[in-house]
Homo-oligomer: 339 residues x 2
């Protein structure tokens, strides 16, 4: 199977065409195409054009509204709620982000619940613009039920990623974005496809026994990272992204699912803080310079790196080198671009 | 070695006497005695009277100011900063908590950095009153450098616990409080004392090799829970508790240490959210009732429990049964109570 090489402009054009033809509005398609293009630019293939067929299929099936505009609700001085109105999360995120940043600067801290949203983007993308803008930010999003609670054997929590970002003057921000599960579900699926066994600790079979068989693991439940502590993080994400926002827990939305490959409907919670409002000086220069000493301490040892560094290396290379996708994916995407 | 049985009233009296004699003000001693008494009541021995000698010694050595009153600074509508002024964190927490709750209700979300504080209490205690009061709350606190960063072998991060609490109407709150390290440092010390090897994954020796020898592990570095994901959590706690508050990172405060057994000076960050301010209804009843369905789903499986449940079982028993401490500890505490 050979690969197709594309420039980032070609990635964006393909994404726009496919989304528009599938029934996504110009405004929403612009945002979603940027998510996929930025992911390809950063070498984050799992959230790049790989997602294109899913985006298009769930709009075509009518499960996700590609044309709807998000609605903003100013719930409190520190709370801006964005109702995605059963559309994708990315346009909701884009619509609310400036207001969240404004509130964070005014109040010191602010939060943005996103409700009735289909989240299909990389979570680091959601905090990236806020953190580039000098804010400290968290994001929490739930997913379908795949992960067993501590002590349990049934799928209950989503793979529930959380992201956290810290601004770095003159440098791209430190951002981590990590699932609460030991592995991505897609990694287990890749092991199954390639006939490989999965590492211990990733999943249990339907009887709750540890398994290295990817098929049994997919039928059973994924395990949280780091045992009961990771399970606590998964529960926290479920409570923040769903409980606090008033959306559906993974176990409640299972019945709404079809097989179009798109994301389930759920909630997301963003929290943004302005470091300039901590300490009474109105200036974040000293705070951010101080944090750089921690990063220097981390990086002075061989073998260490900051969580986002790999993305930033790719970010430098892809604008000139372009990106590649498998020919089969390219063909599917071209099909998405036809009426 | 036999145990001494005490009522909770006797615990509180002993704590008060020892703290007062050691040079802690009546007001500060009242708060700190409540931390230790509540820990004993909840069966959380590691933060009960076990801490008494450390509290007394670091006041007697002059490293911690037991008499200082915390100072509150209203940095922003959503930020109340408490300067512990080189005293213990618990009185700072108690002084700022009502203002943090007031701000969270007014703004929807608020944060409380605590600076120049010696944190020696259980972190769940810090969120407990906020969550009992109907708020969702986070707490992050740093400690001395004990934990290696991802890919590194040197002690850099603290064991850096985070706590998260969710209110439950008519029930004690769901609260988890977990270190970012795979194990508590004290657990490794107990294994050393008892001549046991430690499990793999807890620590590396000074050369960076995995070790099951507690002595080598204490000399080397502790490992984060859950590999690089736990390391990211440890880094996040360091950035929130220290970076954002403007205190000293663990690697910076090492030079200020002595051997009095008390805590290092650092920072803490609390975040509180009012669920009634999410969704525009002004009422959290439906939100909290909905979250109960998640807890029910978790608990319907045999073998599961919520993170704080063990404490709440003890909480019911100790008021009538009392608690026990080793006779040697009791003797040391009585010595603390002498001039």
């Amino acid at each position: 199977m050979s690969d197709v090489r594309l420039t980032l402009e070609e990635v964006r054009d393909l994404a726009m065409r496919g989304l528009r033809v599938s029934g996504v509005s110009q405004e929403n398609a612009t945002v979603i195409a940027d998510v996929m293009t930025t992911a390809e630019q950063d070498g984050c293939k799992s959230h790049g054009l790989f997602r294109m067929p899913g985006y298009c299929a769930c709009v075509r099936s009518g499960r996700v509204d590609g044309k709807i505009a998000p609605a903003l609700h100013d719930d409190a001085p520190g709370v801006i709620r964005v109702d995605a109105q059963h559309g994708f999360a990315a346009p909701a995120m884009a619509a609310g982000r400036p207001k969240l940043a404004e509130k964070a600067r005014a109040q010191g801290i602010a939060t943005m619940p996103i409700v009735n949203a289909h989240h299909f983007a990389a979570l680091w993308y959601d905090v990236d613009a806020l953190v580039e803008d000098g804010l400290v930010a968290f994001a929490f999003v739930n997913s379908r039920s795949f992960v067993a609670p501590a002590g349990g054997i049934r799928k209950l929590y989503g793979t529930n990623p959380m992201a956290f970002g810290w601004p770095r003057p003159g440098k791209p921000p430190m951002i981590f974005d990590q699932a609460s599960s030991a592995s991505a579900r897609g990694e287990i699926q890749l092991h199954l496809r390639d006939g490989h066994s999965i590492p211990e600790g990733w999943a249990i079979d339907p009887n709750g026994n540890p398994t290295t068989d990817p098929e049994a693991g997919l039928a059973g439940a994924q395990l949280p990272f780091g045992g009961h502590k990771g399970a606590a993080i998964a529960m926290m994400v479920e409570l923040l992204a769903v409980g606090l926002t008033g959306c559906k827990f993974g176990f409640e939305s299972a019945q709404d699912e079809n097989t179009d490959g798109g994301p389930s409907e759920g909630g997301e919670l963003l929290i943004a803080m302005d470091p300039a409002r901590f300490g009474g000086t109105g200036d974040s220069t000293a705070t951010l310079a101080h944090a750089e000493t921690l990063f220097s301490e981390i990086l002075q040892e061989e073998g260490t790196r900051l969580p986002s560094d790999r993305r930033y290396i790719a970010r430098q290379q892809t604008p000139t080198e372009g990106i590649t996708i498998p020919e089969t994916l390219h063909k599917t995407i071209l099909e998405c671009c036809e009426t």
